[in-house]
């Protein structure tokens, strides 16, 4: 099974035998990989019925639960790592979810697109319209992505909430990192993978 590039990076940050909660787990690719290769006890939250069915068929623990409603049913420090890939920008209260991730888990791993990438800036700057691309294919009125932010914004939030950034990997859409995006991440990085803790 070949793993999605971002999940390949994430799995390297997860310890064998640990407990992982995946917020918005999709079809459970990451949790399957972690179960089969790292003896991880994982649980995923998902709201898409087809994706939930897929998790069930693959023997992944999945719970039908909306991240925007509440994560109160998860006890403090009950997981080693809480993962959320490509969903932060779709949350009603991204800050609350981030706080919850670090209440429930010792570490959090998040990925989200960078709204300050030069292509977004170029699109907005030249056309004067909200950026639409293959990578972010929605128009402003039907997008699930209601809280776009930039790397700087996210790191500012982390500082305000006393959240430590343990690792940051800035990559392009295919999750390759380059010396350029390392040089000027907030301009040249398209996606960031953050590993955070209290």
């Amino acid at each position: 099974m070949s793993l999605r590039a971002d999940l390949e990076i994430i799995q390297q940050w997860i310890r064998p035998g640990s407990r992982v909660l995946d917020l918005g787990c999709g079809e459970g690719q990451l949790l399957r990989h972690l179960r089969d290769h790292k003896q991880v006890q994982g649980y995923g939250l998902e709201i898409d019925p087809d994706k939930i069915s897929s998790c069930i068929r693959h023997g992944v623990n999945v719970m039908e639960q909306n991240l925007d409603e509440s994560l109160d049913n998860f006890e403090d420090n009950s997981f080693d790592t809480v993962v959320m890939t490509q969903s932060l920008q779709a949350m009603h209260y991204p800050d609350r979810v981030l706080e919850d991730m670090l209440r429930i888990g010792h570490e959090g791993i998040l990925t989200f697109p960078n709204f300050a990438h030069w292509r977004c800036r170029w699109y907005l700057g030249t056309k004067g319209r909200m950026p639409v691309s293959e990578f972010m294919p929605y128009t402003w009125y039907n997008t699930p992505n209601i809280h776009f932010c930039t790397f700087k914004d996210f790191e500012q939030l982390c500082r305000e909430r006393n959240i430590k950034v343990l690792n940051r990997l800035v990559v392009d859409q295919t999750h390759q990192s380059s010396w350029l995006s390392g040089l000027w991440p907030n301009m040249l990085g398209e996606v960031a993978i953050y590993r955070v803790s209290r």
Binding site: Q41, Y43, I56, R57, V60, N61, V62, M63
Partner: protein
């Protein structure tokens, strides 16, 4: 003679097993001997690793799938899920379905003859609990050579049995599938059961449960009990869609007793039909078993601690419009399993049919059950 559908388990014959070792009961009075009537579908494999137990709900019984005769109008109560190629695939699994103790479909219950007196038990039949049922089912498993169930599956009161199995015999259950159920009833839920019981108990034909001796049955009470129960199994939406405010005739009669609305007619029919085929004492017993179920009570109400012993992987499912066993109650169970660090999946199925949904072929529900069951490993 009509042809049976290809995906049916076909003609089935109920079997019975007599137990002569006294069964200790929660109430303190053991049952000295008893019979359980059951059906099986599919073949038990050589390693006996493919056995699935189906636990029935309040008014259910052992006849879960297939037909007793080619002339039967309807198959067993869960035929849409049990059969070759169905969600609980009898090509893979050996499925066991029994009538619980205290029932009125062949297993020893209030309408059976008490061998010690030569008369029917009637009111003297002991109150049995979900835990008692599970112990009696374990003895049946022993007889059938099943050391461990691949899965124990049930909806509503049946889901409570599946859960109790995972708690009472953790090493004997690999998977627990609990559908439209709760870790204990709420006050409102007990209240509905009490209305049903009062309807039966206050029927002049009830005779303190010994109606058989008087050659009568408390039909009216049982009918009322079923009517109120039935309302709670449906949703406001499903009743609205089915009946609305439709009248049986063109106009209102302006009298106080005639059947005017279609919904009245339907409920009366359901109640009457039920009162002709179900035993009143059994109904009382089943509702008591529901009310008493509260496995966490043994641990001061701590559900997670109660579930700590569970070894089974669990699948919990609820239905959005079910208000008798609402999704919130299933989530309590899921949270308990999570806190106990057990493997659990939870689905909240969008369905308009209320509590009854667990018996209906709702595509997403069937797909999930099927996906889960197909994933269960069985050796040869």
């Amino acid at each position: 003679m009509s042809r049976l559908p290809a995906d049916s388990v076909g003609l089935v014959t109920p079997q019975r097993q007599t137990f002569t070792d006294p069964l200790p009961l929660a109430c303190g009075t053991p049952l000295n001997s008893y019979e359980l009537v059951y059906e099986t579908y599919g073949e038990l494999n050589a390693s006996a690793s493919n056995a699935v137990l189906i636990c029935h709900a309040l008014s259910g019984h052992h006849h879960a799938a297939g037909y007793h005769s080619a002339d039967d109008r309807k198959p067993g109560w869960w035929d849409n899920c049990i059969g070759p190629g169905k969600a609980i695939d009898t090509n893979r699994f050996f499925v066991v379905s029994l009538n619980n103790l205290g029932g009125c479909h062949g297993s020893t219950g209030p309408s059976s003859i008490n061998p010690e007196t030569g008369k029917s038990y009637g009111a003297s039949f002991p109150v049995v609990t979900v835990e008692d049922w599970v112990h009696s089912q374990a003895r049946l498993a022993d007889v059938l050579g099943i050391q461990q169930w691949a899965a124990v599956v049930g909806g509503s009161l049946g889901g409570m049995q599946a859960l109790q199995w995972a708690i009472s015999y953790p090493e004997r259950v690999r998977h627990c599938v609990a559908i439209a159920t709760a870790p204990k009833l709420s006050a409102q839920n007990i209240a509905f059961n009490e209305v049903a019981r009062q309807a039966i108990i206050t029927d002049p034909d009830f005779h303190n449960g010994d109606y058989a001796a008087f050659g009568v049955i408390p039909k009216r009470g049982l009918m009322l009990a079923r009517m109120v129960g039935h309302i709670t199994y449906l949703s406001d939406d499903s009743m609205g869609a089915k009946f609305g405010r439709d009248l049986r005739s063109d106009q209102l009669n302006y009298d106080l007793t005639s059947v005017e609305f279609e919904v009245e007619s339907y409920l009366r029919y359901q109640g009457q039909e039920f009162s002709g085929r179900f035993d009143a004492n059994t109904y009382l017993l089943m509702t008591k078993a529901l009310d008493y179920f509260d496995p966490a009570a043994a641990n001061g109400g701590d559900l997670a601690r109660t579930l700590a012993v569970v070894q089974a992987r669990c699948l919990v499912m609820s239905f959005t419009t079910d208000w008798r066993f609402s999704p919130a109650r299933s989530r309590e169970l899921v949270d308990g399993l999570l806190a106990a660090r057990k493997d659990v999946s939870y689905l909240e199925i969008e369905a308009a049919q209320g509590h009854d949904a667990f018996l209906l072929p709702i595509p997403r529900y069937i797909e999930a059950l099927s996906g889960y069951m197909n994933r269960i490993e069985v050796n040869q």
